[in-house]
Symmetry: C2
Subunit: 203 residues, 2 copies
Amino acid sequence: MTTHAAEGLRDRKKRQTRTALGHAAVRLVAEHGLDHVTVEDISAAADVSPRTFFNYFAGKEDAVLGPDPEAGPRLRARVLAQPADLSTAAAVREALLEEVAAELADDRELWLLRMRVVQQHPVLLAKLFSGGEALERDLVAGIAERVGLPADDTYPLLLGAAAGAAFRVAVTRWSSTAAPLHDLLAEALDLLAAGLAEPPRQS
Amino acid sequence: MTTHAAEGLRDRKKRQTRTALGHAAVRLVAEHGLDHVTVEDISAAADVSPRTFFNYFAGKEDAVLGPDPEAGPRLRARVLAQPADLSTAAAVREALLEEVAAELADDRELWLLRMRVVQQHPVLLAKLFSGGEALERDLVAGIAERVGLPADDTYPLLLGAAAGAAFRVAVTRWSSTAAPLHDLLAEALDLLAAGLAEPPRQS
DNA sequence: GTAAAATCCTGCACTTACTGCAAGTTTGCA
DNA sequence: TGCAAACTTGCAGTAAGTGCAGGATTTTAC
Protein backbone atom coordinates (compact mmCIF):
# COMPACT_ATOMS: atom_id res chain seq x y z
CA MET A 1 0.00 0.00 0.00
CA THR A 2 0.98 3.59 0.44
CA THR A 3 4.00 4.16 2.65
CA HIS A 4 4.23 7.18 4.87
CA ALA A 5 7.80 7.14 6.06
CA ALA A 6 8.99 10.69 6.62
CA GLU A 7 5.91 12.20 8.14
CA GLY A 8 5.52 14.26 11.27
CA LEU A 9 3.75 13.07 14.37
CA ARG A 10 0.92 15.50 13.72
CA ASP A 11 0.17 14.28 10.22
CA ARG A 12 0.34 10.69 11.37
CA LYS A 13 -2.19 11.38 14.10
CA LYS A 14 -4.47 13.13 11.68
CA ARG A 15 -4.40 10.17 9.38
CA GLN A 16 -5.10 7.87 12.30
CA THR A 17 -8.13 9.73 13.57
CA ARG A 18 -9.44 10.07 10.03
CA THR A 19 -9.31 6.36 9.35
CA ALA A 20 -10.55 5.61 12.86
CA LEU A 21 -13.60 7.76 12.23
CA GLY A 22 -14.13 6.26 8.79
CA HIS A 23 -13.85 2.68 9.98
CA ALA A 24 -16.09 3.30 12.97
CA ALA A 25 -18.68 4.88 10.70
CA VAL A 26 -18.74 1.95 8.30
CA ARG A 27 -18.83 -0.62 11.07
CA LEU A 28 -21.56 1.06 13.07
CA VAL A 29 -23.74 1.78 10.04
CA ALA A 30 -23.35 -1.77 8.78
CA GLU A 31 -24.48 -3.02 12.15
CA HIS A 32 -27.25 -0.63 13.16
CA GLY A 33 -28.41 1.03 9.95
CA LEU A 34 -27.70 4.52 8.67
CA ASP A 35 -30.23 6.51 10.65
CA HIS A 36 -29.79 4.61 13.87
CA VAL A 37 -26.22 5.86 14.08
CA THR A 38 -25.50 9.42 15.13
CA VAL A 39 -22.39 11.47 14.69
CA GLU A 40 -22.01 11.28 18.44
CA ASP A 41 -21.89 7.48 18.28
CA ILE A 42 -19.21 7.54 15.63
CA SER A 43 -17.17 10.11 17.48
CA ALA A 44 -17.41 8.11 20.68
CA ALA A 45 -16.29 4.94 18.93
CA ALA A 46 -13.29 6.78 17.52
CA ASP A 47 -12.60 8.44 20.86
CA VAL A 48 -12.84 12.06 19.75
CA SER A 49 -15.37 14.78 20.41
CA PRO A 50 -18.33 15.22 18.09
CA ARG A 51 -17.01 18.63 17.21
CA THR A 52 -13.79 17.10 15.96
CA PHE A 53 -15.72 14.78 13.68
CA PHE A 54 -16.75 17.77 11.62
CA ASN A 55 -13.14 18.85 11.29
CA TYR A 56 -12.60 15.72 9.24
CA PHE A 57 -15.88 15.00 7.48
CA ALA A 58 -18.75 17.11 6.28
CA GLY A 59 -21.24 14.62 7.64
CA LYS A 60 -22.10 11.04 8.46
CA GLU A 61 -22.24 9.95 4.85
CA ASP A 62 -18.88 11.40 3.97
CA ALA A 63 -17.38 9.40 6.79
CA VAL A 64 -18.82 6.14 5.47
CA LEU A 65 -17.75 6.68 1.87
CA GLY A 66 -14.81 8.87 2.74
CA PRO A 67 -13.17 10.03 -0.45
CA ASP A 68 -9.56 9.03 0.00
CA PRO A 69 -7.80 12.35 -0.61
CA GLU A 70 -4.74 10.58 -1.96
CA ALA A 71 -6.48 8.34 -4.46
CA GLY A 72 -6.91 11.06 -7.08
CA PRO A 73 -3.28 12.12 -7.45
CA ARG A 74 -2.26 8.47 -7.27
CA LEU A 75 -4.55 7.55 -10.16
CA ARG A 76 -3.37 10.48 -12.20
CA ALA A 77 0.24 9.39 -11.65
CA ARG A 78 -0.59 5.85 -12.71
CA VAL A 79 -2.02 7.08 -16.02
CA LEU A 80 1.09 9.09 -16.76
CA ALA A 81 3.35 6.20 -15.77
CA GLN A 82 1.95 3.80 -18.39
CA PRO A 83 4.26 2.95 -21.34
CA ALA A 84 4.08 5.52 -24.12
CA ASP A 85 3.19 2.99 -26.81
CA LEU A 86 -0.18 2.31 -25.22
CA SER A 87 -3.20 4.15 -26.54
CA THR A 88 -4.72 6.61 -24.13
CA ALA A 89 -7.74 4.42 -23.52
CA ALA A 90 -5.47 1.43 -22.88
CA ALA A 91 -3.39 3.47 -20.46
CA VAL A 92 -6.51 4.39 -18.51
CA ARG A 93 -7.52 0.76 -18.50
CA GLU A 94 -4.23 -0.39 -17.03
CA ALA A 95 -4.12 2.43 -14.50
CA LEU A 96 -7.58 1.57 -13.21
CA LEU A 97 -6.80 -2.12 -12.94
CA GLU A 98 -3.62 -1.35 -11.03
CA GLU A 99 -5.42 0.93 -8.63
CA VAL A 100 -8.16 -1.58 -7.96
CA ALA A 101 -5.65 -4.32 -7.29
CA ALA A 102 -3.69 -2.15 -4.89
CA GLU A 103 -6.73 -0.86 -3.06
CA LEU A 104 -8.34 -4.25 -2.64
CA ALA A 105 -5.14 -5.88 -1.49
CA ASP A 106 -5.08 -3.25 1.20
CA ASP A 107 -8.57 -3.08 2.64
CA ARG A 108 -10.59 -5.90 1.21
CA GLU A 109 -13.06 -6.37 4.07
CA LEU A 110 -13.60 -2.65 4.46
CA TRP A 111 -14.61 -2.33 0.82
CA LEU A 112 -16.97 -5.27 1.06
CA LEU A 113 -18.59 -3.72 4.11
CA ARG A 114 -18.91 -0.41 2.30
CA MET A 115 -20.64 -2.02 -0.65
CA ARG A 116 -23.02 -3.84 1.63
CA VAL A 117 -23.85 -0.59 3.35
CA VAL A 118 -24.44 1.18 0.05
CA GLN A 119 -26.75 -1.57 -1.11
CA GLN A 120 -28.82 -1.19 2.04
CA HIS A 121 -28.90 2.60 1.84
CA PRO A 122 -29.35 3.89 -1.71
CA VAL A 123 -29.12 7.44 -0.34
CA LEU A 124 -25.42 6.86 -0.16
CA LEU A 125 -25.22 6.39 -3.90
CA ALA A 126 -25.18 10.16 -4.20
CA LYS A 127 -22.06 10.46 -2.08
CA LEU A 128 -20.51 7.48 -3.79
CA PHE A 129 -20.90 9.14 -7.15
CA SER A 130 -19.77 12.57 -6.07
CA GLY A 131 -16.79 10.99 -4.39
CA GLY A 132 -16.04 9.27 -7.67
CA GLU A 133 -16.47 12.61 -9.31
CA ALA A 134 -13.59 14.12 -7.35
CA LEU A 135 -11.51 11.14 -8.41
CA GLU A 136 -12.65 11.65 -11.97
CA ARG A 137 -11.30 15.19 -12.00
CA ASP A 138 -7.78 13.98 -11.29
CA LEU A 139 -8.17 11.19 -13.79
CA VAL A 140 -9.26 13.67 -16.44
CA ALA A 141 -6.27 15.84 -15.62
CA GLY A 142 -3.95 12.90 -16.16
CA ILE A 143 -5.61 11.98 -19.42
CA ALA A 144 -5.47 15.53 -20.70
CA GLU A 145 -1.83 15.81 -19.77
CA ARG A 146 -0.95 12.55 -21.47
CA VAL A 147 -2.81 13.29 -24.66
CA GLY A 148 -1.88 16.96 -24.89
CA LEU A 149 -5.36 18.45 -24.82
CA PRO A 150 -6.87 20.95 -22.41
CA ALA A 151 -8.66 19.38 -19.46
CA ASP A 152 -11.98 20.87 -20.53
CA ASP A 153 -11.92 19.29 -23.97
CA THR A 154 -14.52 16.68 -24.82
CA TYR A 155 -12.11 13.77 -25.21
CA PRO A 156 -10.48 13.79 -21.76
CA LEU A 157 -13.76 14.59 -20.07
CA LEU A 158 -15.57 11.79 -21.83
CA LEU A 159 -12.86 9.19 -21.41
CA GLY A 160 -12.68 10.00 -17.72
CA ALA A 161 -16.46 9.89 -17.31
CA ALA A 162 -16.76 6.65 -19.27
CA ALA A 163 -14.01 5.05 -17.19
CA GLY A 164 -15.87 6.14 -14.09
CA ALA A 165 -19.04 4.62 -15.50
CA ALA A 166 -17.27 1.33 -16.16
CA PHE A 167 -15.91 1.37 -12.65
CA ARG A 168 -19.32 1.94 -11.11
CA VAL A 169 -20.86 -0.83 -13.17
CA ALA A 170 -18.09 -3.21 -12.18
CA VAL A 171 -18.49 -2.40 -8.51
CA THR A 172 -22.25 -2.75 -8.72
CA ARG A 173 -21.97 -6.17 -10.27
CA TRP A 174 -19.21 -7.12 -7.87
CA SER A 175 -21.49 -6.61 -4.90
CA SER A 176 -24.13 -8.91 -6.34
CA THR A 177 -22.08 -11.60 -8.04
CA ALA A 178 -19.11 -13.47 -6.71
CA ALA A 179 -16.78 -12.68 -9.61
CA PRO A 180 -13.45 -10.94 -8.93
CA LEU A 181 -13.65 -7.18 -9.29
CA HIS A 182 -10.64 -7.21 -11.57
CA ASP A 183 -12.37 -9.38 -14.15
CA LEU A 184 -15.62 -7.42 -14.05
CA LEU A 185 -13.77 -4.15 -14.52
CA ALA A 186 -11.72 -5.53 -17.39
CA GLU A 187 -14.87 -6.80 -19.08
CA ALA A 188 -16.59 -3.43 -18.80
CA LEU A 189 -13.56 -1.55 -20.12
CA ASP A 190 -13.27 -3.92 -23.06
CA LEU A 191 -16.91 -3.43 -23.92
CA LEU A 192 -16.35 0.29 -23.83
CA ALA A 193 -13.32 0.03 -26.11
CA ALA A 194 -15.45 -1.93 -28.57
CA GLY A 195 -17.73 1.07 -28.90
CA LEU A 196 -20.53 -0.59 -26.97
CA ALA A 197 -21.24 -2.78 -29.94
CA GLU A 198 -24.15 -5.18 -29.81
CA PRO A 199 -23.50 -7.83 -27.15
CA PRO A 200 -23.48 -11.56 -27.86
CA ARG A 201 -27.11 -12.74 -27.74
CA GLN A 202 -27.44 -15.57 -25.36
CA SER A 203 -30.82 -17.02 -26.19
CA MET B 1 -44.08 19.15 -23.75
CA THR B 2 -46.00 16.66 -21.71
CA THR B 3 -49.76 17.13 -21.84
CA HIS B 4 -51.91 16.43 -18.84
CA ALA B 5 -55.42 16.49 -20.18
CA ALA B 6 -57.55 14.07 -18.22
CA GLU B 7 -56.23 14.68 -14.77
CA GLY B 8 -58.09 15.45 -11.60
CA LEU B 9 -57.99 18.71 -9.74
CA ARG B 10 -55.98 17.13 -6.98
CA ASP B 11 -53.19 15.85 -9.21
CA ARG B 12 -53.04 19.14 -11.02
CA LYS B 13 -52.61 21.03 -7.77
CA LYS B 14 -49.90 18.67 -6.64
CA ARG B 15 -48.02 19.22 -9.88
CA GLN B 16 -48.44 22.95 -9.48
CA THR B 17 -47.08 23.15 -5.96
CA ARG B 18 -44.25 20.84 -6.88
CA THR B 19 -43.08 22.98 -9.77
CA ALA B 20 -43.75 26.15 -7.77
CA LEU B 21 -41.45 24.88 -5.04
CA GLY B 22 -38.84 23.76 -7.54
CA HIS B 23 -38.83 27.02 -9.45
CA ALA B 24 -38.74 29.09 -6.29
CA ALA B 25 -35.82 27.04 -5.02
CA VAL B 26 -33.79 27.52 -8.21
CA ARG B 27 -34.56 31.21 -8.42
CA LEU B 28 -33.78 31.98 -4.80
CA VAL B 29 -30.59 29.94 -4.73
CA ALA B 30 -29.38 31.52 -7.96
CA GLU B 31 -29.96 34.92 -6.44
CA HIS B 32 -28.79 34.52 -2.85
CA GLY B 33 -26.54 31.47 -2.80
CA LEU B 34 -27.30 27.98 -1.53
CA ASP B 35 -26.76 28.47 2.17
CA HIS B 36 -28.39 31.87 2.36
CA VAL B 37 -31.69 30.29 1.42
CA THR B 38 -33.67 28.29 3.96
CA VAL B 39 -36.46 25.85 3.41
CA GLU B 40 -38.69 28.42 5.05
CA ASP B 41 -37.81 30.98 2.37
CA ILE B 42 -38.61 28.55 -0.41
CA SER B 43 -41.89 27.52 1.18
CA ALA B 44 -42.89 31.14 1.66
CA ALA B 45 -42.12 31.95 -1.96
CA ALA B 46 -44.29 29.04 -3.07
CA ASP B 47 -47.00 29.92 -0.57
CA VAL B 48 -47.08 26.69 1.36
CA SER B 49 -46.03 25.75 4.86
CA PRO B 50 -42.47 24.55 5.51
CA ARG B 51 -43.92 21.25 6.60
CA THR B 52 -45.51 20.78 3.20
CA PHE B 53 -42.18 21.34 1.51
CA PHE B 54 -40.99 18.07 2.96
CA ASN B 55 -44.02 16.30 1.57
CA TYR B 56 -42.61 17.01 -1.88
CA PHE B 57 -38.84 17.08 -1.53
CA ALA B 58 -36.37 15.41 0.77
CA GLY B 59 -34.44 18.63 1.16
CA LYS B 60 -33.31 21.92 -0.28
CA GLU B 61 -31.03 20.34 -2.83
CA ASP B 62 -33.65 17.98 -4.11
CA ALA B 63 -35.89 20.94 -4.77
CA VAL B 64 -33.23 22.69 -6.84
CA LEU B 65 -32.33 19.65 -8.92
CA GLY B 66 -35.68 18.04 -8.58
CA PRO B 67 -35.64 14.72 -10.34
CA ASP B 68 -38.59 14.90 -12.70
CA PRO B 69 -40.47 11.73 -11.74
CA GLU B 70 -41.80 11.38 -15.26
CA ALA B 71 -38.53 11.69 -17.11
CA GLY B 72 -37.44 8.14 -16.43
CA PRO B 73 -40.43 6.28 -17.85
CA ARG B 74 -40.52 8.73 -20.75
CA LEU B 75 -36.91 8.00 -21.64
CA ARG B 76 -37.47 4.29 -21.37
CA ALA B 77 -40.43 4.58 -23.74
CA ARG B 78 -38.35 6.56 -26.22
CA VAL B 79 -35.74 3.83 -26.35
CA LEU B 80 -38.34 1.18 -27.06
CA ALA B 81 -40.02 3.37 -29.69
CA GLN B 82 -36.94 3.63 -31.91
CA PRO B 83 -37.04 1.71 -35.21
CA ALA B 84 -36.03 -1.91 -34.86
CA ASP B 85 -33.30 -1.71 -37.49
CA LEU B 86 -31.23 0.61 -35.33
CA SER B 87 -28.49 -0.88 -33.19
CA THR B 88 -29.12 -0.63 -29.47
CA ALA B 89 -26.47 2.02 -29.01
CA ALA B 90 -27.97 4.03 -31.88
CA ALA B 91 -31.42 3.72 -30.36
CA VAL B 92 -30.13 5.10 -27.08
CA ARG B 93 -28.46 7.91 -28.95
CA GLU B 94 -31.66 8.94 -30.72
CA ALA B 95 -33.74 8.61 -27.57
CA LEU B 96 -31.41 10.89 -25.65
CA LEU B 97 -31.32 13.50 -28.37
CA GLU B 98 -35.10 13.49 -28.56
CA GLU B 99 -35.44 13.90 -24.81
CA VAL B 100 -32.97 16.76 -24.69
CA ALA B 101 -34.74 18.57 -27.51
CA ALA B 102 -38.13 18.18 -25.86
CA GLU B 103 -36.90 19.18 -22.42
CA LEU B 104 -35.03 22.24 -23.61
CA ALA B 105 -37.86 23.44 -25.81
CA ASP B 106 -39.94 23.37 -22.68
CA ASP B 107 -37.90 24.98 -19.94
CA ARG B 108 -34.82 26.49 -21.49
CA GLU B 109 -34.18 29.29 -18.99
CA LEU B 110 -34.82 27.04 -16.03
CA TRP B 111 -32.18 24.62 -17.17
CA LEU B 112 -29.66 27.38 -17.76
CA LEU B 113 -30.33 28.69 -14.26
CA ARG B 114 -29.92 25.21 -12.85
CA MET B 115 -26.58 24.75 -14.54
CA ARG B 116 -25.39 28.11 -13.27
CA VAL B 117 -26.39 27.16 -9.77
CA VAL B 118 -24.61 23.82 -9.99
CA GLN B 119 -21.44 25.51 -11.22
CA GLN B 120 -21.52 27.83 -8.22
CA HIS B 121 -22.24 25.05 -5.73
CA PRO B 122 -20.33 21.86 -6.46
CA VAL B 123 -22.08 20.23 -3.50
CA LEU B 124 -25.05 19.92 -5.78
CA LEU B 125 -23.11 17.68 -8.14
CA ALA B 126 -23.91 14.83 -5.79
CA LYS B 127 -27.64 15.34 -6.17
CA LEU B 128 -27.26 15.93 -9.87
CA PHE B 129 -25.57 12.60 -10.28
CA SER B 130 -27.89 10.65 -8.06
CA GLY B 131 -30.82 12.23 -9.85
CA GLY B 132 -29.27 11.09 -13.08
CA GLU B 133 -28.85 7.74 -11.49
CA ALA B 134 -32.57 7.32 -11.00
CA LEU B 135 -33.02 8.23 -14.64
CA GLU B 136 -30.32 5.77 -15.54
CA ARG B 137 -32.23 2.93 -13.91
CA ASP B 138 -35.18 3.46 -16.22
CA LEU B 139 -32.89 3.84 -19.18
CA VAL B 140 -31.18 0.58 -18.32
CA ALA B 141 -34.55 -1.11 -18.04
CA GLY B 142 -35.46 0.07 -21.52
CA ILE B 143 -32.14 -1.07 -22.95
CA ALA B 144 -32.42 -4.47 -21.29
CA GLU B 145 -35.94 -4.90 -22.59
CA ARG B 146 -34.98 -3.94 -26.10
CA VAL B 147 -31.93 -6.16 -26.26
CA GLY B 148 -33.45 -9.10 -24.43
CA LEU B 149 -31.00 -9.31 -21.57
CA PRO B 150 -31.62 -9.11 -17.82
CA ALA B 151 -31.38 -5.60 -16.40
CA ASP B 152 -28.45 -6.57 -14.19
CA ASP B 153 -26.30 -7.76 -17.07
CA THR B 154 -23.12 -5.89 -17.86
CA TYR B 155 -24.20 -4.68 -21.28
CA PRO B 156 -27.38 -2.77 -20.36
CA LEU B 157 -25.79 -1.43 -17.20
CA LEU B 158 -22.72 -0.21 -19.02
CA LEU B 159 -24.54 1.26 -22.00
CA GLY B 160 -26.82 3.13 -19.63
CA ALA B 161 -23.96 4.36 -17.48
CA ALA B 162 -21.91 5.39 -20.52
CA ALA B 163 -24.86 7.28 -21.96
CA GLY B 164 -25.24 9.01 -18.63
CA ALA B 165 -21.57 9.90 -18.72
CA ALA B 166 -21.90 11.35 -22.20
CA PHE B 167 -24.88 13.35 -21.07
CA ARG B 168 -23.05 14.80 -18.07
CA VAL B 169 -20.04 15.72 -20.18
CA ALA B 170 -22.26 17.42 -22.74
CA VAL B 171 -24.10 19.39 -20.08
CA THR B 172 -20.83 20.38 -18.43
CA ARG B 173 -19.43 21.69 -21.69
CA TRP B 174 -22.73 23.32 -22.55
CA SER B 175 -22.59 25.49 -19.45
CA SER B 176 -19.11 26.76 -20.31
CA THR B 177 -19.25 27.02 -24.10
CA ALA B 178 -21.93 28.54 -26.24
CA ALA B 179 -22.48 25.51 -28.45
CA PRO B 180 -25.95 23.94 -28.70
CA LEU B 181 -26.50 21.10 -26.25
CA HIS B 182 -27.73 18.88 -29.06
CA ASP B 183 -24.44 19.11 -30.93
CA LEU B 184 -22.31 18.55 -27.85
CA LEU B 185 -24.32 15.49 -26.88
CA ALA B 186 -24.14 14.06 -30.39
CA GLU B 187 -20.39 14.56 -30.44
CA ALA B 188 -19.93 12.79 -27.12
CA LEU B 189 -22.12 9.87 -28.15
CA ASP B 190 -20.25 9.49 -31.42
CA LEU B 191 -16.94 9.44 -29.60
CA LEU B 192 -18.32 6.74 -27.37
CA ALA B 193 -19.50 4.69 -30.33
CA ALA B 194 -16.02 4.94 -31.80
CA GLY B 195 -14.68 3.13 -28.75
CA LEU B 196 -13.03 6.24 -27.37
CA ALA B 197 -10.37 5.97 -30.02
CA GLU B 198 -7.51 8.43 -29.97
CA PRO B 199 -8.77 11.92 -30.74
CA PRO B 200 -7.47 14.04 -33.59
CA ARG B 201 -4.31 15.76 -32.39
CA GLN B 202 -4.59 19.45 -32.86
CA SER B 203 -1.03 20.72 -32.47
C1' DG C 1 16.52 23.10 25.50
C1' DT C 2 13.38 26.52 25.59
C1' DA C 3 10.18 29.94 23.94
C1' DA C 4 7.22 31.41 20.34
C1' DA C 5 4.21 30.16 16.50
C1' DA C 6 1.26 27.24 14.28
C1' DT C 7 -2.09 23.82 14.49
C1' DC C 8 -5.36 20.90 16.51
C1' DC C 9 -9.01 19.51 19.88
C1' DT C 10 -12.85 20.59 22.51
C1' DG C 11 -17.09 22.61 24.69
C1' DC C 12 -20.72 25.89 24.18
C1' DA C 13 -24.29 28.23 21.97
C1' DC C 14 -26.97 28.69 18.06
C1' DT C 15 -29.36 28.04 13.57
C1' DT C 16 -31.27 24.95 10.39
C1' DA C 17 -32.78 20.41 8.66
C1' DC C 18 -35.88 16.91 9.06
C1' DT C 19 -39.60 13.63 11.04
C1' DG C 20 -43.90 11.73 13.56
C1' DC C 21 -48.27 12.76 14.98
C1' DA C 22 -52.82 14.56 15.19
C1' DA C 23 -56.04 17.76 13.74
C1' DG C 24 -58.25 20.45 10.14
C1' DT C 25 -59.27 21.04 5.13
C1' DT C 26 -60.00 19.81 0.42
C1' DT C 27 -61.08 16.57 -3.24
C1' DG C 28 -63.06 12.23 -5.18
C1' DC C 29 -66.91 9.27 -5.49
C1' DA C 30 -71.26 7.02 -4.76
C1' DT D 1 -75.46 15.18 0.06
C1' DG D 2 -72.40 12.56 2.68
C1' DC D 3 -68.60 9.45 3.42
C1' DA D 4 -63.77 8.14 2.49
C1' DA D 5 -59.34 9.22 0.99
C1' DA D 6 -55.71 12.35 0.38
C1' DC D 7 -53.38 16.82 1.23
C1' DT D 8 -51.93 20.58 4.33
C1' DT D 9 -50.53 22.40 8.46
C1' DG D 10 -48.76 23.29 13.24
C1' DC D 11 -46.39 21.44 17.09
C1' DA D 12 -42.83 19.23 19.34
C1' DG D 13 -38.66 16.94 19.34
C1' DT D 14 -34.11 14.93 17.62
C1' DA D 15 -30.08 15.41 15.11
C1' DA D 16 -27.05 17.89 11.81
C1' DG D 17 -23.87 21.38 11.10
C1' DT D 18 -21.15 25.96 12.12
C1' DG D 19 -18.68 29.96 14.50
C1' DC D 20 -16.11 31.13 18.28
C1' DA D 21 -12.80 31.12 21.93
C1' DG D 22 -9.94 28.81 25.25
C1' DG D 23 -6.77 25.12 26.22
C1' DA D 24 -3.52 21.48 24.73
C1' DT D 25 0.01 19.67 21.59
C1' DT D 26 3.28 19.75 18.01
C1' DT D 27 6.51 22.28 15.21
C1' DT D 28 9.86 25.66 14.36
C1' DA D 29 13.33 28.94 15.46
C1' DC D 30 16.73 30.55 18.29
